[in-house]
């Protein structure tokens, strides 16, 4: 049994310590908002926050998260940055198929929490690990700026 603190709740999961947090969340705790995309930290679909830091849950052993605060997409709206990001996402209709968007929103929320006025380069750095096959990147960028209250001079 491994104990983890997910979204403020202490949960127990019957997995070995090396089991990635992703599968612990999805398969054992049945929290499916966090997505499987690549299994190698290449696509960012599985991004969660551990003590506020964006983390690829597919390569993070559950034991590494024990004793820390795990935040997932299901609860990110309860954080100030996450709430603003979700609102901007809805306002600009960022999502298409939506599958990668949990990860996009988790990365964007972490960026905004750490850097209230991100530049384009900051956005590239924070978001380049999140792949979207629907090509929502222009709206991801615009929504982060909207959430940050940054005006975009260029069209």
């Amino acid at each position: 049994m491994v104990k983890v603190n997910v979204n403020g709740q202490l949960r127990e999961a019957d997995v070995t310590e090396d089991t990635p947090l992703l599968w612990t969340l999805r398969d054992v705790l049945k929290m499916t908002g966090t997505k499987f995309g690549c299994g190698m930290a290449l696509c960012g679909a599985c991004t969660v926050h551990i003590d506020g830091r964006p983390t690829r849950s597919c390569i993070t052993p559950v034991s590494a998260a024990a004793g820390k605060r795990i935040t997932t997409i299901e609860a990110i709206g309860a954080t100030p940055a996450g709430k603003r990001i979700q609102a901007a996402w809805l306002e600009l209709d960022v999502a298409q198929c939506g599958y990668c968007q949990s990860g996009q929103i988790m990365s964007a929320s972490a960026l905004l929490a750490a850097n209230p006025k991100p530049s384009d380069a900051d956005i590239d750095n924070a978001m380049a690990g999140n792949i979207c096959r629907c090509g929502t990147y222009p709206r991801v960028r615009a929504a982060i700026k909207k959430a940050a209250g940054v005006t975009d001079k260029e069209t």
């Binding site: 997995v15 599968w23 499916t32 990668c100 956005i123």
Partner: protein
Amino acid sequence: MNSQTLVSPSRREFLVASSAIGGGLLLGFGVPAHAQVRDTLTSGAPFAPDAFLRIDRTGKVTFVSPMIEMGQGTYTSLPMLLAEELEVDVNKVAIEHAPPGEPYVNPLIGVQMTGASTAIRAMYVPLRRAGATARVMLVTAAAERWRVNPSTCRAQDGAVVHAPTGRKLGYGALVDAAAKLPVPENVPLKEPGEFRLVGKAHRRLDAAGKVNGRATYGIDVRLQEMKFAVVAQSPTFGGKLVSVDEAKAKSVPGVSQIVRLEDAFAIVASHTWAAKQGLAAAAPQWDAGPNAKLSTADVVGALRAASERTGAVARNDGDAAAAIAGAARRVEAVYEQPYLAHATMEPMNCTVHLTKEGCDVWLGTQIPGITQTAVSKVTGLKREQVRLHNHLLGGGFGRRLDFDGTVRAVQIAQHVQGPVQVIWTREEDIQHDMYRPYYYDRISAGLDAQGRPVGWTHRIAGSSIVERYNPGWIKGGVDPDAVESSVNHPYDVGAVRVEWVRQETPGISTSFWRGVGITRGTFVVESFVDELASAAKADPLAYRLTLLDKSPRAKNVLQIAAERSGWGKPLPAGQGRGIALCIGFGSFVAQVLQVTVDKDGAVKTTHVWCVVDCGLQVNPDTIRAQMESGIIFGLSAALHGEITIKDGRVEQTNFGDYRVLRINEAPKIAVTLVKSPEAPGGVGEPGTACVMPALVNAVFAATGKRIRKLPVVANIGA
């Protein structure tokens, strides 16, 4: 799967009304009266007809969508069409995924399918007609209740109002009476000028669940007592399983079972990670089979040889060979487009619970009816015993137009007690995709003294997706998908001959990919027209315009794209603009793309100006989003996308070596929508088709180097 096989939506739709179980009005299509090509798999006994519109006694409107949502915005634009005429608040319309069933057949394709950018084209009239018909029945029911002339009543926001007396009844109070009325025929529809909803940007109705993790895809299905399985299929094309170390796999905590199939095996466990660990421990031995030595070079060699042969004639206007022989100048080129994977963000997966009584299948699919039939064949169950539960798709792009993943999951479930979710790892997904074919095109033109084309010959060699998918669509030996946009491009080029040579590679299954034949054909034609402009020492835009006198809509989008992009304004060294046109799916798209190519050959796409005339617009913001999406999808492929084969197996494994665009590589995209009264066209795919030639044309403008073999990054230094 292309505009030639599509039938006109003018078929006679007739509507069937009945009382819903538990009360309420059900309104659905009758069996479509189209006589066009039909899927051979679903031509058997039809599934019991289902309604696509339900209004219950509380007034709740449920739309059972015949098209699945895979990102393209269908779950917003289709309810808009219905709500426009039904006079209800579209934001309150509940949406359900359609089950397999005859009423949900795509009238443009003849099978139940979401694809080929047909959703709006197929449903633009039928859904408005359905909404209007239901509205008239509800108004009639109210008028009868009040004993007034129906013409003194009107529908408004989910209710019928009798204006002279101010009386009002919600739809919910009227559904039982309405269901007993005869279904009126030929109910008049609003003229576009009367639309209150259609044509105005509307927020996506499926967005909320996609920002809070609640949207459910096939991979998110969680059932009581469900097991998790990870599958490994023969790494070589056509190989067989020899052995697995079952003891070692079972020693992994959580692993409960190893399922051995002829050409694959699966590890069943209490969670996916345990199954993956079991897979790693199983040390499978494979018989590599008959294609063990196959390489990309073999595939290309066979295609090159095929392109030397005379093919089936797809178009023959005039004597093209003679016209070229007598021309002042001859231009010829060979273009190559590699195998491509779909790489949907949601890897292939399917959940199955098979019992003696039936089979439940949870998945995301573009083809529910065909898949149901396939499962019934594998299991020996009747079609109605196969209950298929569709979900939002975490990307389709054509990958979920095939049922191979579902059949594989059922084969595994046949050995497992209780429900099992079968997942493909990303590596499995990339290495066992059904790929877009490798295409080898040989094309030539003769130019007169002024540089204007007088003759054009084009021979296409490649695998035929249609021969596998639906041979009934083949006409005169020609694959209509493979030659699309090659036989019917808009340019006036004199005498034309287009030929098709089918060349299959044993063991490799090919399948539709975003933009289907239009993407492959547009790349070649738009690249080659650019080459002709260069040979004629003409500006690529001006040259195109001289060849497009018969296509004013094409000229218009090109000219607007040129204006918006500053076409013709000088750029610094190493930068260039390319232009391309795509006509397809009933839409006209032009793009100007700007690149920077540094001295090491690194290509950066900085801007894309995209102009689209798709006829009448339903949800303009969806059209913009689909252009952005198509552009980035096409750029991923044109810049990086390539599946290669060595020793009988696919070399790429994951997003590290099957590169797709990331946010830092995405260009700025400016989309301009052209207002048009023409019939609505499709928008999911032309953005992809247009951007691939726009990119190589821009690289040529920047560097003088013509890329005839994709992808650009791998070939710019060649």
